[in-house]
Point group: C5
């Protein structure tokens, strides 16, 4: 079982890393206890087979006739296993350092015998309205693909696994570079799912703001805004990755696969458009919220003003005839009381007429 | 009959698509029931003829002497027909996938034997103040043009159809690439019409905000802002399309036609300018709205303040002489009552004078 | 006599144009009734002569020894005349279409035998605070210059006309390209005049906002902001025009004239700087306006609070001794009344002291 | 004696210039009365000598053995002198026109025998909080440097003059291009001094806003913002000047001097950073100001609310027992009065307790 | 002992510098009294040795077999020592001037025999919430590294020192350029630590704003915003430094080291992303703060309105029956008093019902 996902921080803990020599293999992130879970897929022509190795060394045994092998390591806090695998496949120490540091910025680097790309898998927990991220490091060479996950529960590959296991995926007809593309594609799709959820949330908030804005609405708007800001932060480097892939002329990526990568590049642009669009609409929603508050205050104040300005003069008038002066001529009149009441009525009606005309009430 | 248009969502449903293998032909979007409506125009030298095929295979029969054929398929949810047509004209699977997915980002791609461009046709329903979008996929080769629409009621080609049917259009004297340009031009014109409507709406809102701002005004401003944000999202990629067309050196587009495309490129810039201009003016209108609310609150509060501060002291004074103390000398005075009333009058007048001088009332 | 200028719309009517075949000569804009007014200047070495032709064909007769001819057509709604002139000078149909459509975006295009540039002449009516625009299309070849105006009253060439008529202008010593530059220069100068007027208006508004902000001020700020937004929209393409001219290597523009064009390019940058500067200062002015409103509200509320909180407790006290209980000991005291009055005075003074210390009043 | 500095306008008067033929030598700006003050420095190897010519022709007499001459003309309204000097040194008419027009945008132009750069010298009068600008035109050739100032009191060269007169400056060991650099450097330094003053002013305003915001503070914030906007407007072209100088490969600037110019380029970037930083902090200060106003209003309203809601019900209660009904049983009770007073006290205490708990008071 | 850190100013004092000849060695900054502290590390193959020289000349004695020497000079106000060291290593005067001026903008310059880079070391004092900066100038050649610090207490190299002293750092296996990289890396890490602290502070402020916003919160938000603006100002040039290093093809930096520098370049991008993200979230927090104030005001005003509008009419009613008219029929009724009290109750209940329905209370 994987670890529970935690709330996304604004700035991740980097202090542990600072002050270490470059190339030191040390895990940066939370919860360093568990052992990595490893699963292996051997890809043959048109089908693939899964196996779960009992120890790390089993990973290095390749099956006969297999086109390539996919090793998925779940739990980068198991530094020892990661180092062993890295050594076997001849991975540069600086790359391994990036894999272990789960606060790394997404990027792509090409080497002679392999390419390395670091991505984030995102999730949006609708119930709490919080986004969570998990780092995915992907290395692919001519006949191997390595993926390293942080070890949190679940990943974005479940549908891809189903498809390759049921022999229903074109990546089975292609090579390692194409399967690497399929994995990255699944990763990028996770952003679309998160944005779709956020889009729905914004539509709810727009509705709420126009009909019944409350301090709770404000809090939700702020939370969503924050999540969009954090999402954008991880989308910026995503686009750069696909630009780098297109520009690289590594022989490890075939022409046909490059065409597919161009497709993901378009998707990454679409994602950035979407985030900007959501941010703009959310900003507009906040403006509406602020205006709604002002509108409400105006209404309350108008009501107070109407009631006060009608009754305050009347209270003054009745106060006059409550005075105990010896000689107040009106008090002696027979219909004085009724006259005053009539006067009050007239004043009140005039006031109401005035308010109506001035559109205050 | 086509489908009814629906309200534009902020983020379209993408979840159905996520997790599918690339190149899978599946319709992404709403309402997958109907059969595609197909219409065919055979273009001859100087005139054209329309026919409605009874089945898909009829599309593939070309008329003798015809320069090129335009097949308009309305209803991309009819996956089978789309696939059949695609196969006949040798269209790449990834392209067909884009055609079927009605949430695709506008883009242009050139291939050896055809060019593919994906556009959005926009409409603004003035009555509800909502914008709606329909995807248009356009493929043109040397002697064929294919257009795929989502299948909603109406399209942007009615005036173009009228012109070619009445033999009154220069595209009749040109080849397939020029007619493709004419179709795209009609599509871009639909943006101008939407922006013109929005411009009128903004002028109404400006007027309303200055004279009689209400919560309804605020809602309208927000709705328009939202529509402008969504419109801009579909305009950004539009410009890129025309840049790509200019840069491509496909032999499928002739030099003369390129000149016309440069014209649309200018129009796409003009559209972006317009959207930015409308957004800026709308933002200014919202500022005015907020200030108007404050102005109104100020007026109401001034009114309350004037009435209150005049009558509260007076009420206190008449309260004094309502006290039941045994010995209050003024009460015994013959003209005490009149003196107090005169005092009240003087105080009230002084207050009013004070307010006038301080410009509060 | 020309037409009256009309208020500038945010988005001009484009719907008439949409749906027409490209290259159709039809006037887009308002008021299609009048006949074009034409004036002709024949340029000789060091002087020029003006004549007003009685019919269009007279335009095509050139004077002997003349270096070049300037034909100024005022009133593009006279489609027939424009078409005739266009045909005579061999102007492309798409160019003529642009000339007739008075809602075109400013741009520059070079052809083999002529260059075409479309500009806007701007005016700021100080009295109403509204900006108006008139389209100017300018075509120049080796020995002719054509200018097409919308036909509104007045243009920006009056000072240039004075100078050439009084033989006091260096363009008389130069060729057609230089005179084209002089015309464009006059056009760009019109922007400076508008911005100068707007700058003065902003200074007035700043003053008004700080001393006596009113809803009228707000309306003026909004109107000016709107005009600046529309001005900027027509300035963006202006800069592109001069970049295009510099990059073009048409033999129609001589090296010496290019140097002068570089000068206008600098001016167009200066204009953009100015618009941004004015916008920023206006934005700041609006902030001040909003804050001023808040300040005023604060003052009014403080005043109300001071008066209310002083008199409300006092009214309560005198209310107590207005009660009709049989046994209220204080009522029997000889100096009860005076004691209560003294108490009131003390409370009032304490309150005032409290307010002073808290800086509320 | 120079002219008094005047307040900086947002948009300078350009209308006088508009409508003049290009290359006309006419002074644009204010106060066209005085005669230009001229001072001349003859630079020899390691030292320099100053002289004040009695008439313009004296300027053209160069000293034997002198490396180069610096002629400083203070007062460009003296058109005749400027024209004379320009003619002697072979300066282009368009350049002279720029020199005379004191509203020109800063720029750099290279010619065969000289380079021309137009700059602004800035000053911040701390007492009035206003920035003032003076135009500096600098022309340098192989053996001469000309500087033209508007003729206002003082300039930015006083320290440089001191240094060269006391033989304590490396420019004495270098050529004309290096001394031109020294002059420009002094000019750029004047921006740093202005920004330093503005930085101090902002710190004062921040303090004031947090402790005791007043309408005066708002006015000061606006004034500073306006000055920063105007300063930025003159800084944008400054950067372009140094880019142009670096890119130019005029033989007039030696390699070694270019290195120093690169240094000023860095300074111009630093200046732009500073202006942006100051603007951001000032914007934040305005936000704080607005929030402070709201905070204050909240406090005042809370106070009013507390006082009102305590005394209004009490006043009602004592009003009840002021009624003159024949039969009000409580009035007959012996301790009725005391009971009511106790009731009032209890109600008041409950209210206060409620406010305390709700954190309203 | 080093100097105490001081609060970061918005604009540092530059006035002392202005007016000095370029290349003058004078210290710009504060506190010019102390003597520089110098420490020397001699690097051998695999280990290094530290020594503290008793005088400056000792610095120039290199150990046999040493690969390179690192001289760390703490206290650039000791102009004499800096000049001596500079002269010994052949450092350009303009570079020395930059070292002495502690207000310089970060930049990188390459020379024939050495590279020079100027950086800022940052610190965030959590207790006071203030950021402080210290300038670091780093010069490295083939066999020497010089670092110059301002002389404040502490630096960012303590962890690096520990590592090299305990022979636990890969820089011991590399040359001077790699150690220079290690020093710069430590410097960049200091930015991460500051941002981490600021991230935590923002999370606190977000919490505080949503639950209990006070004027203190506002002040903290402003202070943090200001620090972020200043931090961004020093981050912009940081990115340029690493771009310059990558582009330079100085032989002083080996290919392998360049790879590591590319890593820091990525970090500098990440830092800029982080600062923008923090700024965006802080801006959103301020919006929430403003809205919270409005919400609170609304609540207070609603409360006042409810209490006032209930009791004001009631007070009027009891006032009526406090009038002393001879003939008020109701006063004679036996149950008049009770009827009025019941009427009051009914009015109060109706009012409360009305408020509930209108959601005002």
């Amino acid at each position: 079982m994987g670890k529970r996902r935690r709330k996304k921080r604004i700035v991740e803990k980097i202090s542990e890393k600072a002050g270490l020599p470059p190339g030191t293999l040390i895990h940066i992130g939370e919860d360093k206890v568990e052992k990595a879970r490893v699963e292996i897929y051997d890809f043959f022509d048109g089908y693939c087979k899964k196996r779960v190795p009992s120890n790390i060394d089993e990973c290095f045994k390749t099956k006969e006739n297999s086109k390539f092998i996919w090793i998925n390591i779940d739990g980068v806090n198991d530094v020892e296993s990661v180092a062993k695998i890295g050594k076997h496949f001849g991975i540069n120490d600086l790359v391994l350092e990036d894999i272990l540091n789960t606060e790394e910025r997404p990027h792509f680097k090409e080497f002679n015998s392999y390419c390395f790309t670091l991505l984030k898998m995102v999730k949006y927990e609708h119930s709490v309205g919080e986004m969570s991220e998990e780092q995915l490091s992907l290395i692919f060479g001519n006949n191997f693909i390595l993926t390293f996950q942080e070890g949190l529960e679940g990943d974005v590959f479940s549908k891809l696994r189903e498809r390759i296991e049921s022999k229903n995926d074109i990546s089975l007809k292609n090579d390692a570079d194409f399967f690497a593309y399929s994995l990255i594609d699944s990763c990028v799709d996770s952003y679309f799912l998160v944005l779709e959820q956020m889009g729905l949330k914004i539509e709810d908030l727009e509705e709420e703001t126009l009909t019944d804005p409350s301090p709770k609405t404000l809090e939700e708007i702020h939370k969503l805004k924050r999540n969009l800001i954090l999402l954008r932060k991880s989308l910026w480097p995503l686009r750069e990755i696909f630009t780098s892939i297109e520009r690289s002329n590594t022989p490890l990526i075939k022409q046909n696969t490059l065409y597919y990568f161009r497709d993901i590049y378009d998707h990454s642009l679409q994602l950035l458009d979407l985030v900007e669009t959501l941010r703009d609409i959310l900003a507009s929603t906040l403006d509406v919220y602020m205006s709604s508050l002002s509108n409400k205050l105006n209404q309350v104040m108008k009501f107070l003003t109407v009631i006060s300005t009608i009754f305050i003069p009347l209270t003054f008038i009745v106060g006059i005839y409550g005075m105990n002066f010896k000689y107040i001529p009106e008090l002696e009149w027979k219909y004085g009381y009724f006259a005053v009441m009539a006067l009050n009525l007239i004043i009140a009606l005039l006031m109401i007429y005035y308010f109506k005309r001035k559109k205050i009430a």
